[in-house]
Each structure stands twice: as C-alpha cells, then as structure tokens.
C-alpha cells in the first residue's frame, strides 16, 4: 500500500507520520522551491511536479495524477487547501483508479458550493444564517448587488461561493463600502478558487464560531465529535482553536452534533468533514458551511478524544467500518488549544516574513504537540500560506492548557524570520481570553485597541539582558572566543562584522 500526499508543509509531514505508523509507503510531491522541504525528505519517494507557483505545481491535477502513476501509488491524500476540496481532482483520481482519501466528488461539489450547502442544511432541518440563496456570479452588477444587500441587511459579509479559510471574504458595514468589498472578494476568489461567484450573508452580532468534526464510513455510519471553538480569528482567519468550547453545555453539544450529523447524512457523507456553525449569545446555532476535508485544527480534537483522525481517514478510504464509540467521540478528556504559528511579523501588521530559517527549537515536554513543517536551512517561500507550525497543548483543565501554551511558546525558538509567537505569548495573558469571554470579533477589536504597540515589549530588565547579550555576542565573535562552527554563509558574514567591531573597539 502506497499513499501519495498531494500537499506540502506541516500537513504533508502530519500525513507522512500517520502513514509511517500504519506501515504504509509514502510519496511526496514538490515544487522548485520545496526541494529541501521536510515533507520531501521524510517521504519514501518524492516527485518534482513543477515551478514554485502553486498553479503550476500543487494545483496541477495532471502532474499529481501522473506522479501517482509513475510511483505506483494506490491512494492520494489531499491534505487541506490546494486541491483538497476540488471535485475535479477527486474525479481525476477515481478515473485513474486511485483511491481519493476524502469524500466523494459529488459531496465535495455539492457542499463546496456555499449556497447549495445552505439549501442542504435547510432541508435537513438545520437553521442557517440569513443571506442570499443563489450565487451572484460576475454578470450580477453592482446595482443589483446593492439592492440584494439592502434586503439582507447591514452589517453583512461578502463571501466566495467556492470559498474557505477566510479567503474571498469581506465584512461590509454600510452600502458605501459594498462595491469595493465585492471587487476584492471576487478577485481573491478567482485567484484562490478559480470562481468569482460570491454571496451575501447577514453578520450576526458577536457570535462564536463552533464547529463539529465528523467521520463517515462507506457503510452508512456517521460519528460527530466533541466541538471545536474557533472564535479567535484575525480578519476571518482562525489563529487559535480549542476543544471543548467553554460556551457549549453538554445539552447544546448533543443538539449541535445531531444537527451536524443530519447534514452529513443528507449527502451520504464519507471520510472526514467539518460542519461550521455560528452560535449567538442565546445559544441559538446557525449552519455556516461544511468543509469537506481534514482541517488545520484537527489536532485539538485528537488531543481530547485520543483518536487519530488521519489514520481513520485512511482506514475509511480502504473500506473499513468505523468502530468508534459515539459517546467517547462526543466527550472531551481534558482541554486542548492550538496556536497557528505563522512566518509573519505581528509588529508590522502581521506582514508575511518569508526567508531562511537559521535556527529552530520547537517546544516539547508534558502535554505539548508540535505539528511543524519546516527545518533549519529551509527558506520559507513567498508562494504559499505562511504557516510554519501548529503548537498544540493539552491540559486536564483549560487553565492548565493555557499555562502549558504560555510555557511552550517561551520554549519555542525560530531564528532568522519573524513569527507570530510573541503575539500568542501576549494573547495567552489577556484576561478576556483566559476567562473564555470572547467571540469572533474579539481579537480584531483587541488589536485595534492596541494601536500597533509591539508584542515584544520588554521589561527594562529584559531590555538590559538583551542589550548585554548582543554586545557579548559581538565581543565573542570579534575576539574569536566563539569557536563554534556556524553555517558557511553566516561565518563570512560574521567574520566581516567581527573585523569591523574589533576596529571600533
């Protein structure tokens, strides 16, 4: 049995780990800039599929299917992003007699259309957020959209019909901002998903984002899992996820899980999927969308249910029946939190910070899981999403999970590029976060209130330690007491710097 992983970064490494544990052979695919990426080095085989631009490599169905054929792979795991929710890719796998580790092409196509998915939810008796029932393609003009927007009501969200991951989504507070938001949403949707159709949805007041992971097998069994809480978002992108949610009672959990399972059963869903809901202050919940793939935040569910979702994906794809105890899947053992570590500079408005990783020491120790995708000597490319790792902590209580996250973040060292670690160190100390009192608008409001203050604000004492260390570093290099062999490239850099310092000294 051999599995080709049609992805890169941490999720490719995560899938390789599952395959290794199941004694399955693995095939990586890679673009020009990913030659030395971790997933390439850790797979049993690797096939080059094109230039660095995603459209010419990780999004090329023909090249990936050909790579599977060449290496004799039996199955393809799409990961998340790229082709994971592309029905044509699932069909191409089927046509090439490859097992697609995911739902059927029909289910992807149906639930991938946000408007069709809403209709499925309504038929399954699940409430949806008020909004447009039909997709608005590029032929629908600004005037028509403005008229529809008035009937949906402001504030509203412009969303890509084919969307996901916060791409192609814009918040609009009033009619004046509508046309510009539609333009950027359409353009982002076109480049990310190849489809510029959008729809409008009412924006609920301070809702929580609660989602239900589920697995379905090929024998009609659907098992929903304990919820994930994903309300900590920056510009509609999840940055922290937890399980369980502090806002979900066991009674609400049962109802929301039953609703999720009803939607999945309505489309004969198989493999891993997630149904996203918005929950308002009164505890009413609304279907938002279904993600027909493994999600970035799946580890928090794994940590509290002690199950391996990726291994289950593979076993389901091989035809095995699900033999999970539904009660166990729906109850959380302890609490788990995930921070998405991005190569971004939080002090520069979270600007991407690609580049060479000069040093890396992931956190470890009790209750810590690091799902990383990079290594020292690898240069984070500009071509893809900038997430470099997911740091997950588990605790018996939410408080312990937070304390562990704070500890682990301070252990985590990434040198050479800026990361969002200092931002998470700060977030874990915020009283409202610690109290679990937040909604999807919390983080954006909190960031506005900061007015751009640095997340790496040092105490006067730490500032002095940092200054001393910098001076000592220069001194040691100048006096050649260092003696530590570094990378050739940095050695010359340092020799030059050291000579200069010596002259000044």
């Amino acid at each position: 049995m051999k599995i080709l992983i049609a992805n890169r970064g941490e999720i490719a490494v995560r899938i390789i780990r599952a395959c290794r544990e199941m004694r399955l052979r693995t095939v990586a695919v890679y673009s020009d800039c990913d030659r030395t990426a971790r997933h390439v080095r850790e797979a049993d085989q690797a096939v080059h599929i094109g230039p660095s631009e995603a459209a010419q490599s990780y999004l090329r169905i023909d090249a990936i299917v050909e790579a599977a054929r060449t290496t004799g792979a039996d199955a393809i795991h799409p990961g998340y992003g790229f082709l994971a929710e592309n029905a044509a890719f699932a069909r191409a796998c089927q046509d090439a007699h490859l097992i697609f580790i995911g739902p059927s092409a029909d289910a992807i196509a149906l639930m991938g259309s946000k408007t069709a998915a809403r209709a499925v939810a309504v038929r399954a008796g699940v409430p949806v957020v008020p909004g447009t029932e039909q997709p608005l393609d590029e032929n629908v003009g600004d005037d028509e959209i403005a008229r529809i927007a008035t009937s949906v009501g402001f504030p509203l969200l412009v969303k890509a019909v084919a969307g996901g991951g916060g791409k192609g989504m814009r918040t609009v507070d009033d009619a004046a901002a509508l046309a510009s938001a539609v333009r950027t949403a359409r353009s982002e949707a076109r480049s990310a998903f190849g489809d510029a159709a959008i729809y409008l949805e009412r924006r609920l007041v301070r809702p929580r984002h609660i989602e239900i992971q589920l697995l379905g097998d090929h024998h009609g069994t659907v098992v929903p899992f304990v919820e994930r809480e994903c309300s900590i978002q920056r510009r509609h992108q999840k940055v922290v996820e937890e399980s369980p949610s502090i806002a979900v009672s066991s009674e609400l959990r049962r109802r929301i899980a039953a609703a999720a399972a009803a939607v999945a059963r309505a489309v004969n869903y198989s493999n891993a999927g997630t149904i996203e809901f918005l929950v308002d202050e009164s505890g009413s919940f609304y279907f938002l969308e279904m993600n027909t793939r493994l999600q970035v935040e799946h580890p928090v569910t794994e940590m509290v249910t002690r199950m391996d979702l990726v291994q289950w994906q593979i076993r389901i794809a091989m035809g095995e029946p699900l033999d999970i105890d539904p009660a166990e899947a729906l109850s959380a053992n302890g609490h788990a939190i995930e921070c998405r570590i991005y190569a971004e500079d939080p002090d520069l408005g979270f600007m991407p910070s690609p580049g060479l990783i000069r040093g890396l020491r992931p956190a470890s120790g009790p209750g810590v899981r690091d799902d990383g995708g990079v290594s020292v000597g690898y240069s984070v490319p500009v071509f893809y999403d900038s997430m470099i790792a997911k740091l997950v902590t588990w605790g018996q209580s939410r408080r312990q999970a937070i304390d562990r996250m704070s500890r682990a973040l301070r252990e985590y060292q990434v040198l050479g590029i800026k990361t969002t670690i200092p931002f998470f160190v700060w977030l874990m100390q915020q009283p409202a976060y610690m109290a679990g009192q937040y909604d999807t608008t919390y983080l954006d409001r909190l960031l506005v209130d900061r007015k751009g203050d640095s997340f790496s604000q040092l105490t006067a004492a730490d500032e002095e330690v940092a200054s001393i260390a910098t001076a000592l570093d220069a001194y040691l290099r100048a006096t050649a007491h260092a003696g530590t062999p570094g990378a050739a490239e940095s050695t010359t850099h340092w020799k030059r710097a050291a000579r200069l310092e010596a002259l000044r000294g």
Partner: protein, 171 residues
C-alpha cells in the same frame, strides 16, 4: 571593547572585558557586573549573572535582514537590536506618509502585482487603493500616501516584486 546597543529607541553603552575563563566584566552605562557567558549552538548565548540572584538567562542573537541589525530572542519575544548605530532605512507600506512633495507606493513584502487600480495622470485622494499585490495567498490593496496625481506607475500587472520595490509615484 565598547558597543552602542539600541533597543526600541533606547541606547546603552556597553563595555566588555575578559575576566577569567568564561567570565566577562560587563559595564552598562557605568554599572559593572560579572557575567558567565557561554555560546550554545550558532546563535544561542547562556548568561549566568553573578549578582545576588544568580539569574540564568538564555538569549538568541541572530543576524536580522539589515547590516548592523540583530534579531534577539528572549523569553518568547523577538526584538530588533541595532549595534553601533548602523541602521538602514526601512521601506514601509505608507512610503513616508508625512513627507511632502513626491511620494511613493512601495511593496512592503515580496509578491505579485495582481491589478493596477489607477493609471498615470489620475487624480487620487489620500488612502485611495492604487495597486493590488498578492503575497502569500492574500490580496493586499496598497493605498496612496496622499492626495495628488499619479505621476507614474512603475510596474505591470502580473509582475513579481521584491520587498521595497517602488510600485507607483504620487505627486
């Protein structure tokens, strides 16, 4: 040896002399202390302070992008430190919003020009979107730093740009 070290706009004068073995006499703005310093790997420094509390600190000092700038990691935080005042200018998204006369719209990060929203000669208002740059899968509208006239658009749609590249000139 004496160094001028600047963090967050505050500069310190630090003198270092070798004492014994791994110990160094470090004088910060006139205040002297003994510090046991050991390198750990290429960029790590383990510091043991000789004061009453015997504190142990681990700090990473690695080169930042610009010459004379170091990236210092301490306790989960990351700060840019300027050594001996050798600082170079930084391109910003606003391209120097407070300057007068001609101003530029600059790419704040490497990316690809998706779309030009204005053409040469157009009158623009302050913060009007000028060009859309895609970087790391997100489209970013880069805006005019001021009200004025578009003197020149320097790039074409589809073109890849490096960080700091001038995209448009507003006069």
């Amino acid at each position: 040896m004496t160094f001028a070290v600047e963090i967050n706009g505050r500069s310190r004068t630090i003198s270092i002399e070798h004492a014994t073995a791994d110990r160094y006499r470090v004088i910060v703005d006139g205040h002297a202390q003994l510090i046991d310093a050991k390198r750990v790997g290429s960029f790590g420094l383990s510091l043991l302070f000789d004061g009453a509390d015997r504190s142990s600190r681990e700090v990473q000092v690695s080169p930042a992008g610009a010459p004379g700038e170091m990236l210092v990691g301490i306790d989960g935080k990351s700060v840019t430190v300027v050594l001996n005042g050798r600082r170079t200018g930084h391109a910003t998204a606003e391209g120097g919003a407070h300057a007068r006369g001609e101003q530029t719209v600059v790419a704040p990060m490497p990316g690809r020009v998706v779309r030009l929203l204005v053409t040469g000669g157009d009158e623009v208002i302050a913060r009007q979107p000028i060009v859309v740059v895609e970087a790391m899968k997100m489209e970013n509208e880069l805006r005019s730093p001021k009200a004025g006239r578009v003197k020149e658009i320097v790039v074409k749609a589809g073109e890849s740009v490096e960080a700091g590249r001038v995209l448009a000139v507003i006069e």
